[in-house]
Symmetry: C14
Subunit: 88 residues, 14 copies
C-alpha cells in the first residue's frame, strides 16, 4: 500500500465513523428534550410559547455538537491538509 492509498482509507473510515458516532447522542438528546417539552406542554398548556422557545434554543445547542462532527467529516473528505500535501 502506498501513502496515497493509506491516507485515503484512513480519511474515509474516520469520516464515516465520526459522523456515525457523533450523531448518536445528539439524536438521543434531542429526543429527550422533545419528550420533556411535550410533557411540559401537556402539563402546563399556558406556558407553551416559553417552552417552545426554550426548546428551540436547546435543540440548536445540541445540534451544534452534531454539526461539529459533520464539519470534521467534511474537512476530512473535501479539505484534508494531509491529503493535499501527499497528492501534490
Amino acid at each position: 500500500m502506498d501513502s496515497v492509498t493509506i491516507i485515503a482509507v484512513a480519511s474515509i473510515i474516520t469520516a464515516g465513523l465520526t459522523t456515525g458516532i457523533g450523531c448518536m447522542f445528539p439524536a438521543l438528546s434531542e429526543g429527550k428534550a422533545v419528550s420533556a417539552a411535550l410533557g411540559s406542554i401537556s402539563q402546563q398548556p399556558d406556558a407553551a410559547p416559553t417552552i417552545t422557545r426554550t426548546l428551540f434554543v436547546g435543540l440548536a445547542m445540541i445540534e451544534s455538537t452534531a454539526i461539529y462532527c459533520f464539519v470534521v467529516s467534511m474537512i476530512l473528505i473535501f479539505a484534508n491538509p494531509f491529503w493535499n500535501f501527499i497528492v501534490q
Copy 2:
C-alpha cells in the same frame, strides 16, 4: 490488494456502518418522542394540535441527524473524491 480495491472496500464498509450505526439512536429517539406525544395527548387531549406541531418539528430535527449519516454514506458511495482520484 491494489489501491483501487482497498479504497473500494473501505468505502463499502464505512458507508454501511455509518448508516447502520447512525440510524440507531435517531430511531430510538423518535420512538421516545412519539411515546411522549401519545402520553401527552391522552393526558391533555385539548392540547393535541400544539403537541402534534411540536412533535413534528422535533421529529424533523432528530431525523436530520440520521440524514447527515445517510448523506455521508451516499457521498462515500457515489461522490467519493478519493475514489475519483484513484480511478482517473
Copy 3:
C-alpha cells in the same frame, strides 16, 4: 484473494450487518411507541382516533430509518458502483 473476491466479500458482510444492526433500534422504538399508544388508549379511550393517527405518523417516521439501512444494503448488493467498476 483477487479484487473481485474481496469486494464481493466486503459487500456481503456490510449488507448483512447494515440491515441487521440498523433494524434493531427501529424495532425497539416501534415497540415503545406501540406500548405508549396502548397505554394511552386504555387511559383515555375517547382520544383513540387522535392517538392512532399520531402513532401511525410516528411509526412511518421510525420505519424510515430502518428503510434507509435496507436501501443501503440493497444498493450494496444490487447496484454497487465499486463492484460494477471492477467486474467491467
Copy 4:
C-alpha cells in the same frame, strides 16, 4: 482459499448473524407491546377491541423489521448475485 470458498463462507456467516442479530430487538419489542396490551386490557377491559386491533397493527410493523433481516439472509443464501457471478 479460492474465491468460491471465501464468498460461500462470508455468505454463510453473514446470513446467520443477520437473522440472529436482527431478530433480537423485534422479539424484545413485541414482548413489550404485548405486555403493554395485557396491562391495558386489565386496566380498561371495555377497550379490548381497540387495544387488540392497535396491537396487531403494531406487531405487524415490528415484525416487518425482523422480516427485512430474514429477507436479506434468504437473498444471501439463495439469490446471492456475487455467488452467481463467481460460480458461473
Copy 5:
C-alpha cells in the same frame, strides 16, 4: 484447510450461534409477556379469558422470531446450498 472443511466449520459455528443468540431475546420477551399476563390476571381476574387469548397470540408472534433463527440454523446444517455445491 481445504474448501470443504472451511465451509463445514463456518456452517457449524454459524448454525450454533444463530440459534444461541437468536433465542435469547424471544425468551426474555416471552418472560416479560407472561409476567404481564400474570400481573393482569391478578389485577382483573374477570378478564382472564381475553388476557390469555391475547397472550397466546403474542407468544406465537414472539416465538416466530425464534423460529426464523432456528430455521436458518437448520437450513445451514441440512440444506446448505454452498455445501451442496462444494461436495458435488
Copy 6:
C-alpha cells in the same frame, strides 16, 4: 491440523457455547415469570389456579427456546452431517 480435527474442534466449541449462551435468557425469563406468579398469588390468592396454569404454559413456551439450543448442541455432537461426511 487436518480436517477431522478442525471440524471436531468447531463442533465442540459451538455445542458448548450454544447451550451456554442459549440457556442464559430462558433462565432469566423463567425467574421473571415465577416472580410475577408469586407476586400475583400473594396479591390475589383466589386466582391461584388460573395463575398457576398460565404460568406453566408460559414456562413451557420459554423452556422451548432453551430446548432449541440444546437440540442444536445435541445435533452438533451426535448427528453432525458435516462430521459424518468427513469421517466416512
Copy 7:
C-alpha cells in the same frame, strides 16, 4: 500440536466455560424467584404453602437450564464422541 491435544484443549475450555456461563443466569434467576417468594410470604403469610409450592416448581424449571449446561460439560469431558473417535 497434534489432533489429540487440540481436541483435548477445546474440550477442556468449552466444558469449563459452558458451566461457568450457563450457571450465571440460573443463579440470578433463582435469587429473583426466592426474593419474590420471601416478599410474597411477608405480604400474605396465609398463602405460604401455595407460594412455597409454586416456588419449588419454578426453581426446578430454572435449575433445569443450569443442568442442561452441566450435562453438556459432562458429555464433553467424559463421553465426548470426537475424543473417542480420535483416541481409538
Copy 8:
C-alpha cells in the same frame, strides 16, 4: 510447546475462570435473597421462621450452581481425563 504443557495450561486457566465467573452471580443472587429476607422480616416479624426456612432452601439451591462450577474446576485440576490420557 508440547502436548503436556498445553493441556496443563488450558486446565489451569479454565479451572480458574470457571470458578471465578461461576461464583459471581450466585454471590449476587444470595445477596439479593438475603436482602429480601431481611426486608421481609422487618415488615412481618411474625413470619420470621417461615421466611428463614424458605431463605435457607433458596440459598441451598443458589449455592448449588456455584458448586457445579467449583466441581468442574476440581475435576479439571484433580481428575482431568484428558490429562490422565496424556501423562500415561
Copy 9:
C-alpha cells in the same frame, strides 16, 4: 510506510475520534439540562427568567468541554507540531 504517512494517518484518525467521542456526552448532557429546564418552567412558570439564565450559563459550561475536544482536533489537523517537524 514512511514517517509522513504514519503521522498523517494517526492525526486523521485521532482528530476524527476525539471530536466524535468528545461530542457524545456534552450532547447528552445538554439534552438533560434542557429537559430539566423545560420541566422546571412547566412546574414554576414564574421563575422562567431565572431558569433560562441558569440554563444558558450551564449550557455554556457543558459546551466548553465539547469545544476542548474540537480544539484538540483542529490543532491536530491544522497546527500539528509533530507534522510540522516531519515535513520541514
Copy 10:
C-alpha cells in the same frame, strides 16, 4: 519459552484473575445485604437480633463463594498438580 515458564505464567495470571474477579460480586452482594439490614433495623428496631442473626448467616453464605475463588487461587499457587508434575 519452556514448559516450566509457561505453566508458571498461566498459574500466576489465573490465580490473580480468579481472586480479582471472584471477589467482585461477593463484595457487591455483602454491601447489598448490609444495606438491607441497616434499612430493616431503622424500620423495625425491635427485630434487630433476628435481623442481625439472619444477616450473619447470609454474609457467611456469600463469603463462601469468595472463599471458593480464594481457595482455587491458593491451590494454583501453592498446590498446583500440573506444576508439581512438570518440576519433578
Copy 11:
C-alpha cells in the same frame, strides 16, 4: 519506523484520546448538576442565590477534572519531555 515517528504517533493518539475520554464524564456531570439546580430553583425560587452560588463552585470543581485532562494533552503536544529528548 524510527523513534521520532513512533513517539510522535503515540503522543498524537494519546493527546486526542485523553481529552476525548476525559471530557465525557465532566460534561455528563455538569449536566446533572445543572439539572439539579434548575429543579431546585423551580422548587424553591427563594433560595436561587444560594443555589446558583453552590452550583458555580461545583461546576468549577467538576470542570477542574476536565482541565487536568486538557493540560495533560497540551503537555503531550507542546511540552513533551520524551519528544524533546529524542529530537535534540
Copy 12:
C-alpha cells in the same frame, strides 16, 4: 525473552490488575453500606448505636474481600513460589 523476564512481567501485571480490579466493588459496596447507614440514622436517630455497630461489622466483611485481593498481590510480588523456583 528468557524465563525470568516473562515470570517477572506476568507477576507485575497480575499483581497490579488483581488489586485494581479487586478493589472496585468493595469500594462500591462500602459506599452503598455507608449510604444506607446514613439514611437509616436520619430516619431513626435513636437506633444509631445498633446501626453503627452493624455497619462496622459489615464494612469489615466487605473490606475482607478487598484484602484477599491485596494479599494475593503481595504474595505475587514478595513471596512468589514460581519466581523463587526460577531465580534459584
Copy 13:
C-alpha cells in the same frame, strides 16, 4: 525500536490514559454530590451552611482520588525512574 523509544511510548500512553480514565468517575461523583447538595438546599434552606461545609469536605475527598491519578501521570512524565535509568 530501541529501549529508549519503547519506554517513552509506554510512559506517554500510560500517562494519558491514567489521567483520562482516572478523572472520569471523580467528575461523575462530584456531579452527584453537587446535585444532592442542591436538592438538599432547596429542601431545607436553613441547613445551607452545614450542607455546604459537608459538601466541600466531600468534594475534597473525591478530588483527592483524581489527584492521585494526576500525580501518577506527572511522575511518569517528569520523574520516571525507569526513564532516568535508561537515559543515563
Copy 14:
C-alpha cells in the same frame, strides 16, 4: 527488547492502570456516601453530628481501597523487587 526494557514497560503500564482503574469506584462510592449524607442532613438536621462522624469513618474506609491501589503503584514504580533483581 531486552529484559530491562520489558520489565520497565510492564511496570509503567501496570502502575498507571492500577491507579487509574482502582480510583474509579472509590470516587464513585464517596460521591454516593456524600450524597446520602447531604440528603440525611437536610432530612434530619438535628442528627448532623452523628451523620458527619459516620460519614468520615465511611470515607476513610472507602479511601483505604483507593490507597491500596496507590500503594501497589508506588511499590511497582519505586520499590519493585523484580526490577531490582534485573538491574543489579
